[in-house]
Amino acid sequence: MIEAAIQLTDVRKSFGRTEIIRGVNLTIPKGQRHAIIGPNGAGKTTLFNLISGRFPVSSGSITLNGQNTAGLAPQQINHLGLSRSFQITSIFPRMTVFENIRCGLLWSRGHKYSFWSLLGMQRSLNEEAEQLLERLNLHNRRHVYAGLLSYAEQRALEIGITIAGGADVILLDEPTAGMSHSETDYAQQMIRTVSEGKTLIMVEHDMSVVFSLADVITVLVYGEVIASDAPANIRSNRAVQQAYLGEEAA
């Protein structure tokens, strides 16, 4: 049996009296590209917030690489090898693009809270940041303050900060939202290469991206998983067609 990267067991989350996640069971094996789809308000982003430790679960358990993440802070979950991006762009606006990427690299390269080593002297760290900028197509913008970038560039930077640390489980929350066709194609290509050999979980609304990237698709409706299967089977699943895909997939 392939070891699970992420395992959710009867996960529930309520805000006040409203139960947003209503008993989700899900196993995502290592190395899988997994997409979570569902109508607006289905709880996709909430699920991400639970997995990444932004919110605690109300009940149930989540394991990451076999370890229970209950009670861990987001940074501790990050140290276990998980990294995430945000649906609403979350970057460091008053720092340069280069520094944004370097911030994403620092912890995993063992720099921690050091106040005695100069970043300018860290040759391999800086080279790594430069290389990543090239892959993100942001190389010629590296000295620009991140807050001044165009929307699509900020989305690319968002993905860059997420993957910089080299986490083996990557969560992308609507990575291509708001991008043009060509930008989406480019981002899709990039996501494919950076997730090579890693576990990728993404929430995405663009069905062409979902169906071409994902090995397995999970459909979430009103906080419950109604199907979790290979793309071809999801396409022909009646319940899914009714609940979500509608005309588009028929």
Binding site: P74, Q75, N78, C103, Y113, F115, G120, A129, L148
Partner: protein, 449 residues
């Protein structure tokens, strides 16, 4: 002009990949501001040299010593404010504890005869500030933003109150007096004359400033920027924002303590004022007026604040009011501070069109001068009526005695203020139109970013 400060002033950008050996000319070009400051600090005392009496002006030396130590204090404040986005209302406790540590150490050296050189006293202050930072920071950095500001204010008030209760350490109202002349010096300098202390302060100011600058280039320094920009995201790249705040607070405490140690060497007396809210406010004023966004901003601000405090206060008892007005004007119209104002001109200078601002500047300077003159005259008349007259002072303007009782002077001040302000509004919109046109041009040519 505030609208153009949409990004922090570019501090000299570090080379992405370290150059192994830097030619002297590159070093000069990159660090000219540091060298200029050093030369200025070394040369300035000689401009106030009294050849007739064969010594330096005592007032000028004390003023410059105060500027040096306030610059270090303001820079340490900016490690929290500018770098980590933490607004502290109690930064003086770190300064004060540093100063008290040095006073007690000097007295202990005197009593015990242990030979610790005077040159190391600012370091002793730094250790005092560091310990204070470890204790106070543990509580304060549990929170950020408003809660952090409130906690620092509380700790500041608490310690000021404690200073008047615990006599042995703080010396109550009278404070702790000490004597810097201990006859132990690395360089064999007695430190009997203020100029000797001044040069020691210059050395420490440079050491502290260089270390604080280098700290901005370390992983902790950069991650402090990251928590300022977006504290939540720092968690998802593996950092605990609280730990970052705590370390940053402790280091700021170390440098504030160094400034406190410098203070003790200059004045040889430390009272509870060094811990109090007014001292904290001075650091905040200096940082805001100079500009929190660039490294050198607080240094410029410290020079202005100390200049007002020590220089302008000789001429008017309303100096604090003027400082307040400057502060409000800066916060409203130039949130980037003095350094931000200078930096705003860089894109225009790069286009080579700075000259086009000459006329607009000339046109706003006249109404500004008129309005300011009216305002100052009015304030001085009021303070003379309420304070000055009772002290038996004569009212004089530019050396010319004036009768403050005559209606015409009061009317003149009000008219100057009113006319100046209305005129400035007109010229101000002319200025802004020119300015915006130039900035738009710079943007179109891609010079802005």
């Amino acid at each position: 002009m505030s609208t153009h400060v949409n990004a922090p002033t570019p501090t000299p950008a570090p080379a992405p990949v370290a150059a192994p050996a830097m030619p002297a000319s590159t070093f000069l070009r990159r660090h000219w501001a540091w060298l200029a400051m050093l030369v200025l600090m070394l040369v300035l005392p000689w401009l106030f040299y009294d050849h007739a009496r064969g010594r330096h002006s005592g007032f000028a030396i004390t003023l410059m010593s105060e500027m040096a130590l306030m610059a270090v204090f303001a820079l340490s404040y900016n490690m929290l404010m500018g770098q980590a986005g933490l607004l502290s209302f109690g930064h003086a406790i770190l300064f004060g504890i540093g100063a008290y540590s040095v006073a007690h150490t000097l007295n202990w050296i005197k009593a015990s005869g242990v030979p610790i050189p005077v040159e190391l006293m600012p370091l002793v202050g730094g250790i005092g500030g560091l310990v204070c930072g470890i204790l106070a920071g543990y509580v304060a950095t549990k929170q950020r933003a408003t809660a952090f500001a409130m906690i620092t204010m509380g700790i500041g008030e608490l310690l000021t109150a404690a200073a008047l209760m615990f006599m042995t350490f703080f010396g109550g109202e009278g404070g702790i007096t000490t004597d810097r002349v201990t006859d132990t010096s690395i360089f064999g300098i007695p430190y009997t004359r203020p100029i000797q202390v001044y040069y020691l302060l210059v050395a420490w100011a440079i050491i502290a400033a260089v270390l604080m600058y280098l700290q901005t280039q370390t992983p902790l320094g950069r991650m402090a920027n990251a928590t300022r920009d977006n504290y939540e995201r720092t968690q998802f790249v593996g950092y605990d924002p609280r730990v970052i705040r705590y370390w940053q607070f402790i280091l700021a405490g170390f440098f504030a303590g160094i400034a406190g140690g410098m203070y003790c060497l200059v004045y040889e007396i430390v009272t509870f004022d060094t811990l109090a809210a007014v001292k904290s406010a001075n650091a905040l004023l200096a940082t805001y007026i100079g500009g929190a966004v660039g490294f050198f901003g607080p240094v410029m601000g410290a020079v202005v604040v100390v200049g007002m405090q020590s220089g302008v206060s000789l001429h008017t008892s309303a100096w604090l009011l003027y400082l307040g007005v400057i502060f409000i004007a800066m916060v409203m119209f130039a949130p980037g501070g003095l350094l931000g104002l200078v930096a705003n001109h860089i894109p225009i200078a790069r286009m080579g069109r700075l000259g086009e601002l000459a006329v607009p500047y000339a046109r706003i300077s006249l109404p500004t001068a008129l309005a300011s003159a009216g305002f100052i005259l009015f304030v001085e008349l009021v303070t003379h009526q309420t304070i000055g007259a009772s002290q038996g002072k004569k009212f004089a303007l530019l050396g010319q005695p004036i009768d403050p009782g005559s209606t015409i002077v009061w009317v003149a001040s009000l008219v100057a203020m009113l006319v100046g302000t209305l005129w400035l509004r007109r010229e101000g919109s002319f200025f802004m139109a020119r300015w915006n046109a130039l900035i738009e041009d710079a943007k179109a040519r891609g010079i802005m970013s």
